[in-house]
């Protein structure tokens, strides 16, 4: 089977994306739990002692990036495409 057919088969199968999403949630859970188990050698900053800190920080960063950029864009920076013409 060639690459194209394989990709289309997975994408169009009704269960593939559902299963993938479930897999992602389980994976996210594991990464947070792993923080309780994996030893951190260097505790320099306060966040080095908070398990799951980078999960929260990653989610918050991405959320802020999207919301703030869109807000500034709509309020100020985004212009029609022929703006400079």
């Amino acid at each position: 089977m060639n690459l194209k057919e394989t990709l289309i088969k997975y994408n169009d199968s009704p269960t593939f994306w559902k299963k993938s999403k479930k897999g992602l949630y389980i994976f996210l859970g594991i990464t947070v739990v792993a923080d309780f188990i994996v030893p951190h050698e260097h505790k320099i900053f306060f966040w080095d002692s908070i398990p799951g800190f980078w999960s929260m920080y990653g989610a918050l960063s991405t959320f802020l990036m999207i919301v703030v950029s869109k807000a500034i864009g709509h309020a100020w920076l985004m212009k029609p495409e022929d703006y400079y013409d």
């Binding site: 690459l3 990709l7 992602l24 951190h40 320099i44 900053f45 920080y57 990653g58 990036m65």
Partner: protein, 507 residues
């Protein structure tokens, strides 16, 4: 016996010969140039070569040390893959421009004195603008002109700095510059413009997307990375670079959110990536400079791969806006696969190339107790992952817009194949990368703590991406940036000139 060949000579010779050969011979010529140049670098001995006395000054055309060899050899690998990608291009002027451009940038890397460095630096600016103009559209000629003007200004800063530096007895050798003084400030300004450090960055996102389909691949590598090289050489450990770099890392990913043009998304993404290198240079320890060099080397590889992906899409479909693309994995499956490899590599998904290079600068910031730098860089890293996700989804998946397309010609696929292979091999064997760095490297990327941290922020970035997918729907707008000042200033100048038109009648 010649013990050293300045690689730029090979490229300039090639540029002179290439109009006279056609077909297979031209392909062979184009590819042999970076291959031979790489070979001469591998066998060359470290030290000073090509020293010429010129009106009492010593010009050094071949400073061969670990730093110049590292940049030089990665430049050659990238040039090889980019030339493979561009082999189908019929217009010989494009090949001439890219050879002159690559040759000049590589020449600058090996230049040991400020004068010959400046000469190569300017030649690179002038050669590269043709890669924009040769697109042949009205927009590209205007954008190319703005690009050239910005780089002329940057070049003047650099030249002014060099003259002051040499005039005040600083010597012509290009080594670490004094951290203070007008001469250093001017030189640094010249470097900052070419490294696209905000607010001096707008030329990059303005001009690169207007370049030719294959020209943008070369452009995305050589100008900014030569500037990064120059800063490693001239201004290691300059504190302000830490601040500028951290701002840059955040600025680029923020701007990329609203951008509709895929190539421009990558341009802002590139600015953000350069921010990590600038931060590393500013931190300045041996590991910090290693981090900047390793980021530059790896970015050259995966950013070119990602640019090739979008260029392939534009070449096959004639479209480059996210709002006009979608569902292409059905018709361009191999391009899709290479694009995913590049996207995962730049984001630092193990075991790809980014994972072994991106965290070093964060480690250095930790060693130096710069907590806020770490927070800003990881914020940027979330964006570095968000934007590949977005483009993979908007261009190749998402709504199937039934765009007629197929994978690009075989040479373009090979260009991507080479870089994708490097992303995997160097990611799995990081020692290969670390061997190219200017200082000894004792760094182990594959630790449990590092894996867990990376999976955490990347996993949750993916989660937020899925939740906010609707909000990320591309919109048909452009975003104002600091180029507003000079794009609108011309209109202001004309307005003022008209007000003073009466002066003509006085005489």
């Amino acid at each position: 016996m010649i013990d050293w060949v300045q690689p730029s000579i090979l490229f300039f010779l090639g540029a002179a010969i290439v109009p006279f050969v056609k077909g297979k011979a031209r392909s062979a010529l184009l590819l042999s140039i970076p291959a031979i140049a790489l070979l001469t670098m591998v066998v060359s001995s470290q030290g000073m070569h090509g020293v010429i006395n010129f009106i009492g000054y010593e010009l050094v055309f071949g400073r061969v040390d670990k730093l110049s060899l590292g940049f030089g050899s990665v430049f050659m690998v990238s040039a090889f893959a980019s030339l493979v990608f561009a082999l189908h291009v019929k217009d010989v002027r494009e090949h001439i421009a890219s050879l002159l451009y690559v040759g000049s940038a590589t020449g600058a890397v090996f230049a040991g004195d400020l004068f010959s460095f400046f000469m190569f630096w300017e030649m690179a600016s002038f050669a590269s603008v043709f890669l924009i103009w040769l697109r042949g559209e009205e927009q590209s000629s205007a954008a190319g002109m703005r690009y050239l003007l910005v780089h002329i200004v940057g070049g003047l800063f650099l030249f002014g700095g060099i003259v002051l530096h040499v005039g005040s007895g600083g010597g012509l050798a290009f080594t670490e510059m004094p951290k203070e003084g007008l001469a250093s400030t001017l030189m640094l300004l010249g470097f900052l413009i070419n490294a696209a450090v905000p607010p001096l960055h707008a030329w990059l996102a303005d001009a690169y997307p207007e370049a030719t389909i294959t020209g943008i691949i070369f452009l995305s590598v050589f100008t900014t990375k030569t500037a990064i090289y120059a800063m490693i050489r001239g201004f290691p450990g300059l504190p302000i670079l830490v601040v500028l770099g951290a701002i840059m890392a955040v600025y680029g990913v923020m701007y990329a959110v609203n951008e509709n043009n895929c190539q421009r998304v990558w341009c802002y993404h590139l600015i953000s990536q350069n921010g990590y290198m600038v931060t590393g240079i500013g931190l300045g320890s041996e590991l910090g400079l290693n981090s900047a060099a390793s980021l530059a080397y790896t970015n050259i590889i995966y950013k070119a791969l990602l640019m090739m992906g979008i260029s392939s899409v534009t070449y096959m479909t004639g479209r480059r806006k996210q709002s006009e693309l979608g569902g292409l994995f059905r018709t361009m499956p191999w391009t899709f696969v290479f694009f995913v490899v590049g996207g995962c590599a730049i984001a630092g998904v193990p075991p790809l190339l980014g994972f072994v290079s991106k965290s070093i600068v964060v480690t250095v910031a930790g060693e130096m107790n710069q907590g806020w730098v770490i927070l800003m860089l990881v914020f940027g890293a979330c964006g570095t992952w968000l934007h590949p996700l977005k483009l993979i989804y908007m261009v190749f998946m998402g709504e199937d817009k039934k765009i007629p397309a197929s994978d690009p010609p075989e040479n373009m696929l090979w260009g991507m194949r080479i870089l994708a292979a490097i992303c995997v091999v160097f990611g799995v064997f990081p020692g290969l990368l670390y061997g190219l760095l200017p200082y000894e490297m004792d760094y182990k990327p594959y630790t449990m703590a590092h894996l867990v941290k990376s999976f955490q922020y990347m996993g949750f970035t993916l989660l937020i991406f899925i939740i906010f997918l609707k909000k990320l729907t591309p919109e048909n707008y452009i975003s104002l940036d600091t180029d507003y000042i000079y794009r609108k200033a011309t209109a202001g100048f004309v307005w003022v000139a008209h007000r003073f038109a009466f002066l003509r009648n006085i005489t």
